[in-house]
């Protein structure tokens, strides 16, 4: 089973070239049953990555382009009166898909944003007293432009927190971009093949929760979050939800790496994606200043008893 993850990652990296690390992170996020936020400039391959991911995992996919006039109903669906049956019928919106790409999430109004985030957290939609369960697996990839761009409503910390990870794609290096430009269409087409079925994915997600985190690892996680709370260098300390997220993301990463136990390197690999957006105020962007997560990692010795 774990081999298939490797295959899926290989296939995705044919499309999103030179971003193996981000792909692995996205995969860990998915396996840990969390949602992913991709923050980058337009045209960096955010959408490509989500498409490829959905294709490789055989998930049905829908895309919601967020704009400032998008209403919650446009996304969640609405009850329409059926003249024939004389009753209201629920017409599900685009969110009722296994994988939802919420594009430019920070362009939508706060009302729509919170509707989405609520659905993400609850995995269900409540409308006019009826509860509609979202499909399983349910995975949201939010993308957002860096917040300093015009026409954006920055997500509040409380909602950023709902995303297990936030990653950045960044510019590809010379060779990767060259490969991308030279690539022929055939390869691109061959890349949209289902590697892991939905059922298998659910099984994998179950396995990930069973990945072993030893006492030493839990202590390491605790030391990290405690340090973020005790040191003055961190304006927004990590919450217990963050420590839970850190551990489950690390389990996902360990699983992607082909292990059934977590080692400190797993924590270190996922920490910037899991913790940075939680510690940094939402209004500031990732560029500039030294990364807070690096500061946090440097402060703690994973091997100390």
């Amino acid at each position: 089973m774990q081999k298939k993850i490797g295959l899926a990652i290989d296939q995705i990296s044919k499309l999103v070239i030179g971003k193996k690390r981000q792909i692995k992170l996205a995969m860990s996020c998915l396996l840990a049953d969390g949602h992913l936020l991709i923050e980058d400039l337009p045209g960096m391959g955010k959408t490509t990555l989500s498409h490829a991911l959905a294709a490789a995992l055989g998930m049905d996919f829908s895309r919601i382009q967020f704009t400032s006039d998008l209403l919650p109903a446009d996304m969640l669906g609405l009850n329409i009166f059926n003249n024939n049956t004389h009753s209201f019928e629920f017409h599900p919106g685009p969110i009722f898909s296994q994988m939802v790409l919420a594009d430019e999430i920070n362009r939508a109004s706060p009302k729509t944003q919170s509707a989405l985030l609520e659905a993400m957290e609850e995995k269900q939609v409540s409308l006019d007293g009826n509860t509609h369960t979202l499909p399983s697996p349910f995975f949201v990839i939010g993308t957002q432009n860096p917040t300093h761009q015009s026409g954006t409503y920055p997500l509040p910390e409380s909602q950023l927190d709902r995303f297990l990870m936030r990653i950045q794609l960044g510019y590809p290096d010379w060779q990767a971009e060259k490969d991308m430009l030279m690539q022929d269409a055939e390869i691109q087409n061959s890349a949209f093949k289902t590697v892991i079925t939905t059922d298998e994915l659910i099984e994998l997600q179950n396995l990930v929760t069973k990945v072993h985190a030893s006492d030493a690892i839990v202590n390491y996680v605790l030391k990290l979050v405690t340090h973020s709370r005790e040191s003055e260098a961190f304006p927004n300390p990590l919450s217990p939800r963050a420590s839970k997220a850190l551990l489950s993301a690390a389990k996902g990463w360990a699983f992607v790496e082909g292990r059934d136990f977590v080692i400190p390197e797993d924590i270190q690999a996922v920490l910037p994606s899991v913790a940075e957006h939680r510690m940094r105020a939402s209004s500031s962007d990732l560029t500039g200043q030294a990364s807070l997560s690096d500061k946090l990692l440097e402060a703690i010795d994973p091997l100390a008893a």
């Binding site: 690892i217 136990f261 080692i263 400190p264 402060a299 703690i300 994973p302 091997l303």
Partner: protein
């Protein structure tokens, strides 16, 4: 390999070494000091990156060989102590030039620490004690910087000062309670370090001594303090005269050695006035002690360490290499008429060859024929000094041929030793046993103690009269009564006093505030000498007594036990958190050992690095022979630490880890050999 570039620990060590060597300037030869300065300059140039290349081993070996030869050449002159000291300083300078790896550094730190200890052989005053304390702190600072190079200089200094303050109470306690043993070894005597009076005096020598304002000793009185004219501190009795200079009679020395066990010649039963005092003598590297007139050691402790010879000199059993403290009782009104053996008479009538000083001989013959009475005769000689226009001066003309003739009949001016020498010679010519005594006269009184300086050095005569025994006669008192009453300064003109040391504070006695300052420093130094340097067995006993009452062995044992228990508890409290820590499990300790081995190669795990990352770092940084076993060891460690507890064979894994560890050790050793080969 450690580089000096921006290496603060090397920088601090270099400066510490430089300062330590400079404080030893009196004992270390000039060319070695130059060698030290060269080494320091070289190291500083490396530190500030003015220069990049340390001298090669070949150059240094050559330099060491040459220095060794030169030192060997001088070594006979220097004696054992100074020879060894010079060798140590020289070796450290060469080591400073080399200083390539950890071992060199540690050797140098240890040696400089030892040098600081050596400094106390020569200097024990409060100023030097403070300097050496600071140097010791600097040395520890260097060590601390060596072990945590990433910490800032300021932070480390702060840490060191805090630790120093923490250590202070323990040091104080140990100072008070540690048993004060006499040294188990004898300090090798060093001729050139002897100071003060010498065993051979040519008139004029004391004039040189009078140019020094160094402290000789202090005496702290209980009860009466003698009047200025009574302060004759006897030190050395000189009985052998060769026409120009006086020295200790060789016969007397032989006798003294023979009769050493019969100490205490003087019996003090009911002898009138008594001065009771304690003397703190500065180191002279000689055995002579000082006391007023006839004195006997007071108390058993002083008695053990001092003996009195037939001339009533007090002599210490061991040379005074550090501040020496003793209690004595003086009997100023006692007659020195214990006994004059025929041998004493012969020694004290000994005359130089008849040919010398003919004028004096003729004069004495003439005078003696007029005054057959001994006392009368002595009185007439004194009157001659008084009436014939003699003057007291520190700068007498040179009197080389027939010095006594020249002094008595031509120059008619001189220093105390001229008068004493001429007088003793004249008395001997007249058939009266006489001898020259050197010592100190006077002293500066402050509350209840007297400070005696080198410029108080004095010489006088003792003559034997059948009725009264040995009698002190001081011809200087006749010529310059002020010298006896008010000290040297009032007896000579101001510009002559201490003219060789223009900056000595004692020279500016007339400036009030400077004099106050001098007296204040004097008090501080007195307190230091009395309470710190003078803290010996006896004082310790007194202190114990004041705490626990009368001393019984059981109490002493209990007290000592209590104190050590207290210190032990303090240390235990410090270490307790460490002991309480859970013991490391076996795999962790193996892993830590492996890290230590890699540390020797200069590969350190950054605190935040995980085991696998570190393993790949090691793989990049070293040879396969080391990284491969480490990688396997890391894998086992990771399994232990992070894998679920499957029934793995723990013991087998530990054995495997141990094996990988020894493989690493062997590989490092092999690698070390290869490096040495490459270097040579």
């Amino acid at each position: 390999m450690t580089s000096s570039i921006n290496n603060h620990s090397h920088f601090v060590l270099t400066l510490t070494f430089l300062l330590t060597s400079l404080t030893l300037y009196t004992s270390v030869m000039a060319w070695i000091i130059i060698l030290v300065i060269c080494a320091v300059t070289m190291r500083l140039a490396l530190y500030f990156q003015l220069h990049k290349h340390a001298p090669s081993i070949r150059t240094l070996n050559l330099l060491a060989l040459l220095s060794g030869i030169v030192l060997a050449y001088f070594s006979l002159q220097l004696g054992v102590l100074l020879g060894m000291l010079n060798l140590l300083v020289m070796a450290s300078a060469l080591k400073l030039m080399l200083l390539r790896n950890n071992r060199d550094y540690h050797q140098l730190v240890t040696t400089v620490g030892f040098l600081i200890g050596c400094g106390f052989i020569f200097q024990q005053g409060i100023v030097f004690s403070i300097i050496y304390l600071l140097l010791m702190v600097a040395l520890i600072l260097s060590l601390a910087l060596h072990y945590s190079p990433s910490k800032s200089l300021l932070q480390t200094s702060k840490d060191i000062s805090i630790m120093g303050l923490q250590a202070l109470p323990i040091a104080l306690l140990l100072f008070l309670v540690m048993p004060k043993f006499d040294p188990l070894w004898q300090m090798p005597a060093a001729k050139s370090t002897e100071t003060g009076l010498s065993e051979k005096i040519t008139p004029g020598d004391i004039a040189k001594l009078s140019q020094s304002s160094d402290l000789v000793f202090r005496a702290s009185f209980t009860g009466d303090i003698p009047q200025p004219q009574e302060r004759y501190w006897r030190a050395i009795v000189l009985e052998d005269f060769d026409g120009a200079s006086w020295q200790i009679s060789p016969q007397r020395m032989a006798i003294n050695n023979q009769y050493r066990q019969y100490s205490e010649e003087f019996d003090a039963s009911g002898e009138g006035r008594v001065f009771q005092y304690e003397v703190f003598a500065e180191p002279t590297h000689q055995n002579w002690l000082y006391a007023i007139d006839v004195a006997i050691p007071d108390g058993s402790y002083s008695n053990q360490r001092i003996w009195q010879n037939h001339d009533y000199q007090l002599i210490s059993q061991a040379p005074l290499v550090s501040t020496f403290q003793y209690k004595v009782k003086s009997y100023p009104s006692a007659n020195l008429n214990q006994s004059l053996y025929s041998l004493d008479k012969r020694i004290n009538l000994q005359l130089p060859p008849k040919t010398g000083n003919p004028k004096t001989q003729a004069w004495v013959d003439n005078l003696r024929s007029q005054h057959p009475d001994d006392v009368d005769f002595a009185q007439k000689i004194l009157e001659y000094f008084e009436n014939q226009g003699f003057s007291y001066t520190l700068k007498p003309p040179l009197m080389q041929d027939e010095p006594v003739d020249q002094f008595l009949f031509e120059a008619k001016q001189g220093f105390c030793s001229h008068y004493a020498s001429a007088m003793a010679y004249a008395l001997r010519l007249g058939g009266i046993p006489a001898r020259l005594v050197t010592g100190y006269q006077g002293g500066e009184l402050r509350s209840d103690y007297l400070s005696i300086y080198q410029y108080d050095a004095h010489a006088w005569v003792e003559a034997w009269f059948d009725e009264t025994g040995w009698q002190r006669i001081d011809p200087t008192a006749v010529v310059a009564p002020d010298r006896i009453q008010y000290g040297l300064q009032s007896a000579v003109e101001a510009e002559n006093f201490l003219y060789n040391s223009p900056f000595s504070l004692a020279r500016f006695n007339s400036v009030t505030w400077l004099n106050d300052l001098r007296l204040m420093l004097n008090s501080v130094d007195y307190a230091w000498t009395k309470w710190v340097l003078g803290f010996d067995q006896e004082q310790q006993k007194d202190l114990f007594k004041s705490f626990i009452g009368e001393l019984t062995p059981r109490k002493v044992a209990l007290f000592a036990f209590g104190v050590f228990a207290l210190i032990f508890t303090l240390i235990a409290l410090f270490y307790l958190p460490l002991w309480r820590k859970p013991k490391l499990d076996k795999s962790t300790s193996y892993y830590l050992k492996a890290q230590q081995i890699l540390g020797k190669l200069g590969i350190y795990r950054a605190d935040s690095k995980g085991p696998i990352d570190f393993s790949s770092q090691v793989a990049r940084a070293t040879d396969m022979s080391i990284s491969a076993p480490f990688e396997r060891l890391t894998k086992l460690y990771v399994i232990h630490m992070y894998r679920p507890d499957t029934p793995i064979e723990l013991r087998k894994h530990h054995a495997m880890m141990a094996k990988e560890l020894s493989k690493m050790k062997a590989a490092v050793k092999a690698l070390g050999k290869v490096e040495v080969l490459e270097q040579s």
